[in-house]
């Protein structure tokens, strides 16, 4: 029988109650607490991920990260929930109400600082949406067929925005 250089091993039917010492060296010590990453770094990373990845995944990793997502309006300056931006399988399968809520939640969090929006939106919601965007909004890209938007809504909008 050959003996390995690893000193600790289980033999035959012997039971070893405590984990062998070799195990502890195999598992890397959890030295760094990524949940405690400074919030400005988390924000920087989240800005690179974009709103959908943050809402669906990243902010659910731990509470300190979610706090950043909730408390940093700058994260929601650009809100785009257009399926063409995502190849995410879950996005394709998600129901309309979910998508609708996504931008509502995102705009709530933007606290009036949203500068660019892209996504689908009902006529009824359009003014509501525009009202919640920043007065300095540069881009409002809607997926809805423009002909479905009522004339009154259009005239109200035109004073404020250029639809792209």
């Amino acid at each position: 029988m050959s003996t390995s250089s690893v000193s600790s091993c289980r033999e035959g039917g012997r039971t070893v109650p405590a984990p062998p010492p070799a195990m502890t060296t195999l598992v890397a010590p959890a030295a760094r607490d990524w949940a405690a990453l400074p919030s400005d770094i988390v924000l920087d990373v989240f800005l690179r991920l974009g709103p959908l990845d943050v809402l669906l995944d990243a902010e659910l990793a731990c509470k300190p990260w979610r706090r950043v997502a909730l408390e940093e309006p700058t994260l929601w300056r650009r809100v785009g929930f257009d399926k063409r931006d995502y190849s995410d399988e879950r996005w394709r399968r998600s129901c309309h109400d979910f998508k609708e809520n996504m931008w509502q939640v995102a705009l709530d969090r933007a606290k009036g600082q949203c500068e660019a929006f892209k996504g689908s939106c009902h006529d009824d919601d359009l003014l509501h949406l525009v009202g919640r965007c920043s007065p300095s909004s540069r881009s409002l890209r809607l997926i809805s067929d423009i002909s479905l938007i009522g004339m009154r809504t259009c005239s109200n909008l035109s004073a404020k925005l250029v639809l792209t």
Partner: protein
Amino acid sequence: MEVDKGKGEAEETRKVAEADRDTVTLKSSDGKLFEVSKEAAARLSTVLAGMIAGGSIDDNGTDLKQIGSEALENVVDYCNKHANSIPSAALISSSISFNTAPFKEPEEWERKFVDRLSHDALFDLVEAANFLGMERLLDVTCHKISEMMKGKSPDQIREVFNIKNDYTKEELEEIRQELAWAFYDD
């Protein structure tokens, strides 16, 4: 004393440093000393630029008590590599997604620089970059961290970053209800 300029060897650099003082000496929390190009340090770190301009650089090693030797070595290595690299023309990325503001894409050598780091080393480096006000290094490290998260589920993200799940099942359910989380095939 004759000093052979133009060679990048460590010993030579040290001699040149002593003669010309074109480097600064930084001291890590565990007392190790590192030489870094003064020009690169001032250009890449707002904090070091302020210290150099304000004359608070110690020739015997400026104390950086918040930064360990491994992270400081990476910072110094990054600064020195940066000093020798020729910046490419197109640094600003063409934003692929509507959602993300245009960021400066890392250069090839910068990608390789962070790719070789362990997760712990990356964590320490991003904190050091933050502490020293190194915008470019923050770009590179945050880009790497975002790549590590992209397309991963909360569970997978926790696994990659060794994060303990501090949510209860009820709390997660509540958050998902806020989003009216529902899929057609649920």
